[in-house]
C-alpha cells in the first residue's frame, strides 16, 4: 500500500515537473524556444515553413494543441490575426490568453518598421502595428531571446537557472554569428533588389540592401500583369540585381521578372525549414546570405 502511494506521489510530482508545452506560431519561434529551453519544453509548431503565416486556418489540431500549452510564442503585431483569435477562444486556456504570462509576442521587443502613418485598406493588407516579418534581421533575436528566456523562467521557475544559462550561451554564440554574417554579407550593401512581397524591410535594414520595387501592387494583393509590366519598365531605367521572395510564395511572378529583366530570382528560406539548408536558426541565416550572394551573379 505504502509502495503504491509512493508511486502515485512520484507520478504526480513528476507530472508537475514535466516539460512545459510550448505552442510556437511560426517555425523560427519554435527553433528559438528549442535553443532556450532544450528538453525542458515540448514544442509544437503551428505553421510550416511553406505556409503563408498570414493565412492559416484555425484547424482542430491547433485548438487541441493550444488547449494544453503553457506558453504561446508568436510574432504578434497582427501577423496571426486571421487565425490566432479563434485558436485562443476555442481552446479556452487562460494560461495563454491575451495579457497572460503565457502569451508571448516577439514583436513587442523589437523596433517595428513600416508602421503606417494612416490606416486605409485601399493601401492593401497593411499591418497597423508595422511590418511583422521581424525574423529576417538576425539582430532582432537578441532582445527577443532575452525576453523569451525570462518568460520561460517566469512560467517554469524551477528551471530558471537553466534557462538563464542556456540564454547566456545562446547570446554569446549568436553575437559571434551576427559578426560573421555581417562580414559575409558586406558585398550586399547598397545592392538594388526587387521584392515580391513587402516581407524584407528588416533584412534590408540589416544588410543594407536597397529595395527599389515590389511585385505586389499593394501588400497582400496578387501581382497583376499590368503591375509587373510597370515594374519591368522601371527596371530598365533603374536596374536591380535580383528579385527576392519568401520560400512559401508562388515562384511565377519572380520568375517572370527574372526572365525579362535578366536578373536572378532568389527564394529565401524566410523561416526555419523554408529551404532544405535552413534546418535551424543559424543555418537559416547562413543560407539566406549564401543565396543572396548567389543572386549577385549574372543569370
Amino acid at each position: 500500500m505504502k509502495k503504491l502511494l509512493f508511486i502515485a506521489m512520484l507520478l504526480i510530482s513528476s507530472s508537475s515537473h514535466a516539460a512545459i508545452n510550448v505552442f510556437a506560431c511560426e517555425p523560427e519561434w519554435a527553433a528559438l524556444s528549442q535553443i532556450l529551453a532544450g528538453d525542458l519544453a515540448n514544442i509544437y509548431t503551428a505553421t510550416g515553413a511553406l505556409q503563408d503565416p498570414h493565412q492559416v486556418q484555425a484547424r482542430p489540431s491547433l485548438i487541441a494543441k493550444a488547449r494544453n500549452a503553457q506558453l504561446l510564442v508568436c510574432t504578434g503585431a497582427e501577423l496571426e490575426i486571421g487565425w490566432i483569435p479563434v485558436v485562443l477562444r476555442e481552446s479556452a486556456n487562460p494560461a495563454i490568453a491575451v495579457g497572460a504570462d503565457g502569451n508571448f509576442s516577439a514583436a513587442k521587443y523589437v523596433t517595428m518598421r513600416e508602421v503606417p502613418g494612416r490606416l486605409d485598406r485601399a493601401d492593401g493588407d497593411v499591418h497597423a502595428m508595422g511590418n511583422p516579418h521581424i525574423q529576417t534581421d538576425a539582430r532582432n533575436f537578441l532582445p527577443i531571446a532575452d525576453a523569451l528566456s525570462k518568460r520561460l523562467a517566469q512560467i517554469d521557475p524551477d528551471h530558471a537557472a537553466q534557462y538563464q544559462q542556456r540564454h547566456k550561451a545562446f547570446e554569446q554564440q549568436w553575437r559571434t554569428a551576427i559578426a560573421k554574417w555581417e562580414q559575409l554579407a558586406a558585398p550586399l550593401k547598397g545592392v538594388p533588389i526587387v521584392v515580391q512581397h513587402k516581407g524584407f524591410p528588416y533584412l534590408n535594414a540589416w544588410l543594407g540592401l536597397n529595395e527599389v520595387a515590389e511585385l505586389e501592387p499593394k501588400p497582400g494583393m496578387e501581382p497583376s500583369a499590368s503591375h509587373l509590366g510597370e515594374v519591368l519598365n522601371e527596371l530598365h531605367s533603374h536596374p536591380a540585381r535580383m528579385v527576392i521572395r519568401a520560400a512559401y510564395q508562388d515562384a511565377r511572378p519572380s520568375d517572370w521578372i527574372s526572365q525579362r529583366a535578366h536578373i536572378q530570382a532568389v527564394a529565401l528560406p524566410f523561416t526555419v525549414g523554408g529551404t532544405p539548408q535552413a534546418s535551424d536558426l543559424y543555418t537559416m541565416f547562413d543560407d539566406t546570405i549564401a543565396r543572396l550572394l548567389g543572386g549577385l551573379k549574372q543569370p
Binding site: 510550416g48 484555425a58 485548438i63 487565425w83 479556452a92 486556456n93 487562460p94 508602421v115
Partner: protein, 420 residues
C-alpha cells in the same frame, strides 16, 4: 534659474543629435526616423472613451437572383418545414453589422445586427462568452447560432455558396439560432475532441417560441478532428437536437383532396433530429493562401411525432421521418479564385397518419427533391468576394428550374478571424 538649465540641457541634446546625425549613415538615420514615428504614435493622446471602443465590422452583401419558379413554393414534401426561399431580382439580404469586444478579463461580447432589405434591424447574434473558466470550458449565453452540424454557426458572409444546402433550408430555416446557453468542453487530449450542450428558448425553427419556464430545446454535439501530415486536416461531428413543437402552423400544405392553394395544418408534438457532419481539407504544403480543396458533407434525420390538426379542424396522430444530405467540394485552384460543386438531396419520408386524416393528408409524395449547384468566386483581397452561382433545382416536383445568382460580399472595419 531652473529654466536656463533646462534650456541649456535641451540645446546640448539637440546639438548632440545633430552631430551624431551628421556622421550617421542612411540606415541609422532611417532607423532613427522609424523610432521617432513610433514614439510619436505612442505619445499621441487617446481618450480612454475612444480607446475602449469595440471592434466594428460591417458586411455589405447583395445578390441578384434570376429564378424560373416562384421561390415561395416549398420543396415537395416539406410544406410543413421551413422554406426560407430566395429573393428574386436584386436584394441586399446579407448585409450585417458586427460589434465585438472584451468586456473584462472574464467575458467578451459579440453582437451581429442583420440589416433587413425592407428596412429595420434584427438581432442575429447577441451573446457573451467566457473562456476564462479554464479546463477547456467555453460558455456562451445569449442569442447565438447553435453549434450543431458543421455549417450551422457559420455566418452568411462565410458561406461557400450563395445559399444554404436544402437540408439546412428545410430542417433549420437556413440556420438554427437560439436564445439560451451553450457549454462546450475541449478534452485535454492531443487530438481535438469537443463536447457541447445547449439549452434554449426554442426560438428557432423547428422550435415553438412560447412562454414557459423550462427550456424549449436541447442540443448535444461532439466533434473530433486532427491533421494528417501538414497537408490534410479533418473534422467529424455528430449532433442531436430535440424540441417540443406547439401549435406549429404551416400554410399552403397540399392535401389529398386537392384543395386549391393547400390548407393550413397545425402540429403539436416532439421533434428529434440527429445529424452527422464531416469536413476534410487538403492544401499543397499546407499553404491555404495558394491552393486548397475542401470537401464536406452533412446528413440530418428528423423524426416528428404528435398530433396533426388538418385544416386546423381534424385531429389525428401523425409521425414522419424526414432526411436530407448534401455533399460539396470547393477548390481554390489559383490564388483568389475558387470553384465549387454541391449536390443536395432530401427525402420527405412516408408519414404514418391516424385514421381521421388518412383521406386528407398526403403521407407519401413519392418524390425526392434534389439540386445541383456550381459556383465560381473571385476574391481580390480577403475583404471582398464576387460570386457567380448556377443551380439546377429540382426540389419541387414537376417544377425543375435553372437558377442564376450574382453576389458580392464585402467586409469593412474589423475583420474577425474565421473558424475552421
Amino acid at each position: 534659474m531652473y529654466q536656463s538649465i533646462y534650456t541649456r540641457a535641451s540645446l546640448l541634446f539637440v546639438l548632440s543629435i545633430s552631430c551624431s546625425a551628421a556622421i550617421a549613415d542612411d540606415t541609422t538615420l532611417h532607423a532613427l526616423d522609424e523610432r521617432i514615428t513610433q514614439l510619436e504614435q505612442r505619445a499621441a493622446p487617446t481618450s480612454s472613451a475612444n480607446a475602449f471602443n469595440p471592434a466594428i465590422s460591417l458586411i455589405l452583401g447583395g445578390t441578384y437572383a434570376r429564378l424560373g419558379v416562384d421561390p415561395t413554393i416549398p420543396a415537395t414534401g416539406f410544406a410543413m418545414s421551413a422554406n426560407p426561399g430566395h429573393q428574386q431580382g436584386f436584394n441586399i439580404g446579407e448585409s450585417e453589422l458586427g460589434i465585438s469586444a472584451n468586456i473584462d478579463p472574464q467575458f467578451s461580447g459579440f453582437a451581429t445586427m442583420a440589416l433587413s432589405p425592407a428596412g429595420g434591424v434584427s438581432v442575429e447574434n447577441a451573446f457573451i462568452q467566457s473562456n476564462a473558466l479554464g479546463s477547456g470550458v467555453n460558455l456562451k449565453i445569449g442569442r447565438y447560432f447553435s453549434g450543431l452540424g458543421y455549417l450551422n454557426d457559420l455566418h452568411a458572409h462565410a458561406w461557400d455558396f450563395v445559399d444554404q444546402p436544402l437540408v439546412y433550408a428545410t430542417l433549420w430555416n437556413n440556420q438554427l439560432g437560439e436564445d439560451g446557453l451553450q457549454l462546450k468542453w475541449l478534452a485535454p487530449t492531443d487530438r481535438f475532441f469537443e463536447l457541447g450542450g445547449e439549452i434554449g428558448r426554442g426560438r428557432g425553427f423547428p422550435g415553438s417560441d412560447t412562454n414557459r419556464n423550462g427550456a424549449g430545446n436541447a442540443v448535444l454535439f461532439a466533434h473530433l478532428g486532427d491533421d494528417i501530415g501538414v497537408e490534410h486536416s479533418w473534422r467529424i461531428g455528430a449532433s442531436l437536437h430535440e424540441t417540443q413543437r406547439q401549435n406549429a402552423i404551416s400554410t399552403g400544405v397540399p392535401d389529398l383532396l386537392g384543395s386549391v392553394g393547400g390548407v393550413s395544418n397545425s402540429f403539436t408534438g416532439k421533434s428529434r433530429t440527429a445529424g452527422l457532419d464531416m469536413v476534410w481539407k487538403y492544401s499543397p504544403n499546407g499553404n491555404v493562401a495558394d491552393r486548397y480543396i475542401k470537401f464536406q458533407s452533412e446528413y440530418f434525420q428528423r423524426k416528428e411525432s404528435g398530433t396533426l390538426s388538418y385544416n386546423l379542424l381534424t385531429n389525428s396522430s401523425y409521425s414522419d421521418t424526414q432526411t436530407g444530405w448534401y455533399a460539396q467540394s470547393v477548390a481554390q485552384f489559383m490564388p483568389h479564385w475558387r470553384m465549387g460543386l454541391r449536390y443536395d438531396r432530401l427525402n420527405p419520408g412516408s408519414a404514418t397518419v391516424g385514421a381521421a386524416n388518412t383521406a386528407n393528408v398526403i403521407s407519401n409524395y413519392g418524390f425526392q427533391p434534389t439540386r445541383t449547384s456550381w459556383m465560381l468566386d473571385y476574391s481580390p483581397s480577403e475583404f471582398s468576394r464576387l460570386r457567380l452561382q448556377l443551380a439546377r433545382d429540382h426540389s419541387r416536383q414537376t417544377l425543375p428550374e435553372n437558377q442564376i445568382f450574382l453576389q458580392y460580399v464585402m467586409s469593412m472595419g474589423a475583420h474577425g478571424a474565421h473558424s475552421y
